[in-house]
Protein backbone atom coordinates (compact mmCIF):
# COMPACT_ATOMS: atom_id res chain seq x y z
CA UNK A 1 0.00 0.00 0.00
CA UNK A 2 1.23 3.47 -0.91
CA UNK A 3 1.03 5.69 2.18
CA UNK A 4 1.16 9.46 1.95
CA UNK A 5 0.64 12.26 4.50
CA UNK A 6 -1.48 15.25 3.54
CA UNK A 7 -2.77 18.42 5.21
CA UNK A 8 -6.09 20.19 4.68
CA UNK A 9 -6.15 21.75 1.21
CA UNK A 10 -3.52 19.38 -0.18
CA UNK A 11 -4.34 17.01 -3.03
CA UNK A 12 -3.46 13.63 -4.42
CA UNK A 13 -3.71 12.94 -8.15
CA UNK A 14 -4.31 9.43 -9.47
CA UNK A 15 -3.66 8.48 -13.09
CA UNK A 16 -3.43 12.15 -14.02
CA UNK A 17 -7.18 12.78 -14.00
CA UNK A 18 -8.54 11.77 -10.59
CA UNK A 19 -7.99 14.29 -7.82
CA UNK A 20 -8.56 13.81 -4.11
CA UNK A 21 -8.44 16.85 -1.86
CA UNK A 22 -8.46 16.82 1.93
CA UNK A 23 -11.22 19.31 2.76
CA UNK A 24 -11.56 18.92 6.49
CA UNK A 25 -10.09 16.90 9.34
CA UNK A 26 -11.98 16.32 12.56
CA UNK A 27 -11.16 14.14 15.55
CA UNK A 28 -12.48 10.93 14.01
CA UNK A 29 -13.14 11.68 10.34
CA UNK A 30 -11.68 13.35 7.34
CA UNK A 31 -13.72 14.94 4.58
CA UNK A 32 -12.42 14.28 1.07
CA UNK A 33 -13.37 16.02 -2.15
CA UNK A 34 -13.02 13.83 -5.24
CA UNK A 35 -12.92 15.00 -8.84
CA UNK A 36 -13.02 12.18 -11.36
CA UNK A 37 -14.17 11.67 -14.97
CA UNK A 38 -17.85 10.75 -15.28
CA UNK A 39 -16.92 7.21 -16.36
CA UNK A 40 -15.15 6.56 -13.04
CA UNK A 41 -17.44 5.24 -10.31
CA UNK A 42 -16.60 6.54 -6.84
CA UNK A 43 -18.18 4.67 -3.91
CA UNK A 44 -17.65 4.21 -0.22
CA UNK A 45 -15.88 0.93 0.63
CA UNK A 46 -18.84 -0.23 2.74
CA UNK A 47 -21.14 0.21 -0.28
CA UNK A 48 -19.37 -2.53 -2.28
CA UNK A 49 -21.20 -5.49 -0.67
CA UNK A 50 -24.48 -3.57 -1.02
CA UNK A 51 -23.69 -3.03 -4.70
CA UNK A 52 -23.26 -6.78 -5.17
CA UNK A 53 -26.56 -7.40 -3.31
CA UNK A 54 -28.35 -4.85 -5.49
CA UNK A 55 -27.07 -6.39 -8.73
CA UNK A 56 -28.18 -9.84 -7.58
CA UNK A 57 -31.56 -8.44 -6.44
CA UNK A 58 -32.26 -6.80 -9.79
CA UNK A 59 -31.28 -9.92 -11.76
CA UNK A 60 -33.43 -12.04 -9.44
CA UNK A 61 -36.58 -9.93 -9.97
CA UNK A 62 -36.53 -10.40 -13.72
CA UNK A 63 -36.36 -14.18 -13.32
CA UNK A 64 -39.12 -14.38 -10.70
CA UNK A 65 -41.90 -12.27 -12.14
CA UNK A 66 -43.77 -15.16 -13.72
CA UNK A 67 -43.62 -17.54 -10.79
CA UNK A 68 -43.64 -15.96 -7.36
CA UNK A 69 -41.44 -17.88 -4.88
CA UNK A 70 -43.48 -19.90 -2.36
CA UNK A 71 -41.91 -18.14 0.65
CA UNK A 72 -42.90 -14.77 -0.78
CA UNK A 73 -46.46 -15.91 -1.42
CA UNK A 74 -46.63 -17.17 2.19
CA UNK A 75 -45.26 -13.86 3.48
CA UNK A 76 -47.81 -11.80 1.55
CA UNK A 77 -50.58 -14.06 2.82
CA UNK A 78 -49.34 -13.57 6.42
CA UNK A 79 -49.21 -9.80 5.97
CA UNK A 80 -52.70 -9.77 4.47
CA UNK A 81 -54.04 -11.83 7.38
CA UNK A 82 -52.42 -9.47 9.91
CA UNK A 83 -53.88 -6.38 8.25
CA UNK A 84 -57.34 -7.95 8.25
CA UNK A 85 -57.07 -9.04 11.88
CA UNK A 86 -55.90 -5.68 13.24
CA UNK A 87 -59.29 -3.86 13.21
CA UNK A 88 -60.99 -6.92 14.81
CA UNK A 89 -58.61 -6.74 17.78
CA UNK A 90 -59.40 -3.05 18.21
CA UNK A 91 -63.14 -3.71 18.23
CA UNK A 92 -62.73 -6.40 20.92
CA UNK A 93 -61.25 -3.84 23.29
Amino acid sequence: MFVIRRRVGERIVIAGNIELEVLEISKTRIKLGICAPAAVTVTRGEALPVAAENRAASAWVSTHMDHQPAQLAALLENLRRESVQAPVCEADQ
Partner: protein, 156 residues
Protein backbone atom coordinates in the same frame (compact mmCIF):
# COMPACT_ATOMS: atom_id res chain seq x y z
CA UNK B 1 -50.37 18.88 -16.77
CA UNK B 2 -48.08 16.09 -15.55
CA UNK B 3 -45.77 14.57 -18.14
CA UNK B 4 -46.69 10.99 -18.95
CA UNK B 5 -43.89 8.46 -19.42
CA UNK B 6 -44.00 5.02 -21.00
CA UNK B 7 -41.59 2.09 -20.86
CA UNK B 8 -41.86 -1.55 -21.92
CA UNK B 9 -40.39 -3.36 -18.91
CA UNK B 10 -38.82 -6.78 -19.40
CA UNK B 11 -40.23 -7.89 -16.04
CA UNK B 12 -43.49 -5.91 -15.58
CA UNK B 13 -44.66 -5.36 -19.15
CA UNK B 14 -46.01 -2.02 -20.38
CA UNK B 15 -45.57 0.73 -17.77
CA UNK B 16 -47.10 4.20 -17.87
CA UNK B 17 -46.63 6.80 -15.15
CA UNK B 18 -46.62 10.50 -14.42
CA UNK B 19 -43.14 11.98 -14.20
CA UNK B 20 -44.16 13.59 -10.90
CA UNK B 21 -44.48 10.17 -9.26
CA UNK B 22 -40.85 9.27 -9.93
CA UNK B 23 -38.27 8.95 -7.18
CA UNK B 24 -35.03 10.83 -7.63
CA UNK B 25 -31.82 9.12 -6.47
CA UNK B 26 -29.17 11.86 -6.74
CA UNK B 27 -26.36 9.36 -6.07
CA UNK B 28 -27.96 6.37 -7.79
CA UNK B 29 -27.89 3.07 -5.91
CA UNK B 30 -24.75 1.11 -5.06
CA UNK B 31 -24.04 -1.01 -8.13
CA UNK B 32 -26.27 1.27 -10.22
CA UNK B 33 -24.61 4.65 -9.69
CA UNK B 34 -26.11 6.17 -12.85
CA UNK B 35 -29.63 5.08 -12.04
CA UNK B 36 -31.28 8.26 -10.78
CA UNK B 37 -34.93 8.01 -11.91
CA UNK B 38 -37.00 5.21 -10.42
CA UNK B 39 -40.71 4.58 -10.56
CA UNK B 40 -42.37 2.96 -7.52
CA UNK B 41 -45.02 0.48 -8.65
CA UNK B 42 -47.58 -1.42 -6.60
CA UNK B 43 -49.53 -4.40 -7.92
CA UNK B 44 -52.74 -4.56 -5.83
CA UNK B 45 -52.69 -8.36 -5.50
CA UNK B 46 -49.10 -8.25 -4.23
CA UNK B 47 -49.35 -5.45 -1.67
CA UNK B 48 -47.38 -4.42 0.34
CA UNK B 49 -44.68 -5.38 -2.16
CA UNK B 50 -43.30 -2.39 -4.02
CA UNK B 51 -41.45 -2.66 -7.31
CA UNK B 52 -38.80 -0.02 -7.85
CA UNK B 53 -38.37 0.12 -11.61
CA UNK B 54 -35.84 2.16 -13.52
CA UNK B 55 -37.53 4.95 -15.49
CA UNK B 56 -34.94 4.62 -18.23
CA UNK B 57 -33.76 1.00 -18.36
CA UNK B 58 -36.36 -1.66 -19.20
CA UNK B 59 -34.38 -4.40 -17.46
CA UNK B 60 -33.65 -2.88 -14.05
CA UNK B 61 -36.20 -3.53 -11.34
CA UNK B 62 -36.06 -4.20 -7.59
CA UNK B 63 -38.57 -5.76 -5.26
CA UNK B 64 -39.01 -4.12 -1.86
CA UNK B 65 -41.09 -4.23 1.29
CA UNK B 66 -41.73 -1.47 3.83
CA UNK B 67 -39.17 -1.88 6.59
CA UNK B 68 -41.85 -1.86 9.28
CA UNK B 69 -43.53 -4.90 7.72
CA UNK B 70 -40.34 -6.90 8.33
CA UNK B 71 -39.14 -5.43 11.61
CA UNK B 72 -41.84 -3.31 13.28
CA UNK B 73 -40.35 -0.57 15.43
CA UNK B 74 -36.91 -0.70 13.84
CA UNK B 75 -35.47 2.82 13.68
CA UNK B 76 -33.11 3.79 10.89
CA UNK B 77 -30.18 5.98 11.80
CA UNK B 78 -29.47 8.69 9.26
CA UNK B 79 -25.97 10.14 9.04
CA UNK B 80 -25.21 13.73 7.95
CA UNK B 81 -24.47 12.53 4.39
CA UNK B 82 -27.87 10.78 4.31
CA UNK B 83 -29.65 13.99 5.40
CA UNK B 84 -27.82 15.82 2.63
CA UNK B 85 -28.67 13.24 -0.04
CA UNK B 86 -32.34 13.34 0.98
CA UNK B 87 -32.37 17.13 1.38
CA UNK B 88 -33.69 16.78 4.92
CA UNK B 89 -33.15 19.35 7.66
CA UNK B 90 -30.57 17.79 10.02
CA UNK B 91 -32.08 19.75 12.92
CA UNK B 92 -35.38 17.88 12.63
CA UNK B 93 -35.62 14.13 13.10
CA UNK B 94 -37.78 12.79 10.28
CA UNK B 95 -40.84 10.74 11.21
CA UNK B 96 -41.20 7.39 9.44
CA UNK B 97 -44.43 7.30 7.47
CA UNK B 98 -44.83 11.09 7.53
CA UNK B 99 -41.51 12.49 6.37
CA UNK B 100 -39.72 9.38 5.15
CA UNK B 101 -40.55 5.91 3.91
CA UNK B 102 -38.04 3.10 4.37
CA UNK B 103 -38.07 0.17 1.95
CA UNK B 104 -35.98 -2.97 2.31
CA UNK B 105 -34.82 -4.45 -0.98
CA UNK B 106 -35.38 -8.19 -1.42
CA UNK B 107 -32.84 -10.42 -3.08
CA UNK B 108 -31.63 -14.00 -3.21
CA UNK B 109 -28.97 -15.74 -1.18
CA UNK B 110 -26.57 -18.08 -2.95
CA UNK B 111 -28.89 -20.98 -2.11
CA UNK B 112 -31.95 -19.18 -3.47
CA UNK B 113 -33.55 -18.16 -0.17
CA UNK B 114 -35.09 -14.65 -0.11
CA UNK B 115 -33.00 -12.29 1.93
CA UNK B 116 -32.96 -8.63 2.89
CA UNK B 117 -30.34 -6.40 4.45
CA UNK B 118 -32.13 -4.22 7.00
CA UNK B 119 -29.16 -1.96 7.54
CA UNK B 120 -29.28 -0.81 3.89
CA UNK B 121 -32.85 0.27 3.25
CA UNK B 122 -33.89 2.70 0.56
CA UNK B 123 -35.09 5.86 2.32
CA UNK B 124 -37.52 8.14 0.48
CA UNK B 125 -38.17 11.75 1.45
CA UNK B 126 -41.96 11.87 1.10
CA UNK B 127 -41.96 15.65 0.72
CA UNK B 128 -39.70 15.90 -2.34
CA UNK B 129 -39.40 12.30 -3.64
CA UNK B 130 -35.62 12.29 -3.21
CA UNK B 131 -34.36 8.85 -2.31
CA UNK B 132 -31.14 7.31 -1.09
CA UNK B 133 -29.92 3.86 -0.05
CA UNK B 134 -28.15 3.71 3.30
CA UNK B 135 -24.73 2.04 3.48
CA UNK B 136 -23.77 2.21 7.16
CA UNK B 137 -20.29 1.41 8.40
CA UNK B 138 -21.77 -1.05 10.88
CA UNK B 139 -22.13 -3.73 8.22
CA UNK B 140 -25.11 -5.76 7.05
CA UNK B 141 -28.08 -6.98 9.08
CA UNK B 142 -29.39 -9.91 7.07
CA UNK B 143 -32.85 -11.41 7.53
CA UNK B 144 -34.10 -14.43 5.61
CA UNK B 145 -37.57 -15.58 4.72
CA UNK B 146 -38.43 -19.14 5.77
CA UNK B 147 -40.90 -21.47 4.07
CA UNK B 148 -43.78 -20.30 6.27
CA UNK B 149 -43.28 -16.70 5.15
CA UNK B 150 -41.68 -15.57 8.41
CA UNK B 151 -38.55 -13.43 8.63
CA UNK B 152 -35.61 -14.72 10.66
CA UNK B 153 -32.48 -12.78 11.57
CA UNK B 154 -29.31 -14.36 10.23
CA UNK B 155 -26.78 -14.86 13.00
CA UNK B 156 -23.32 -13.78 11.94
Amino acid sequence: MPQSCVLRSTSLGELEWDAESELWFPQGLPGFERLSRIVPIEIPARRPLVYLHSATDASICFMALPLHSIAPGLQVELLPDDYRALDLDPAIEPVAGEDILCLALLGPTECGVIQTNLSSPVVINLHNHRAHQLTPETGPDYWRLDDSGTWEAVCS
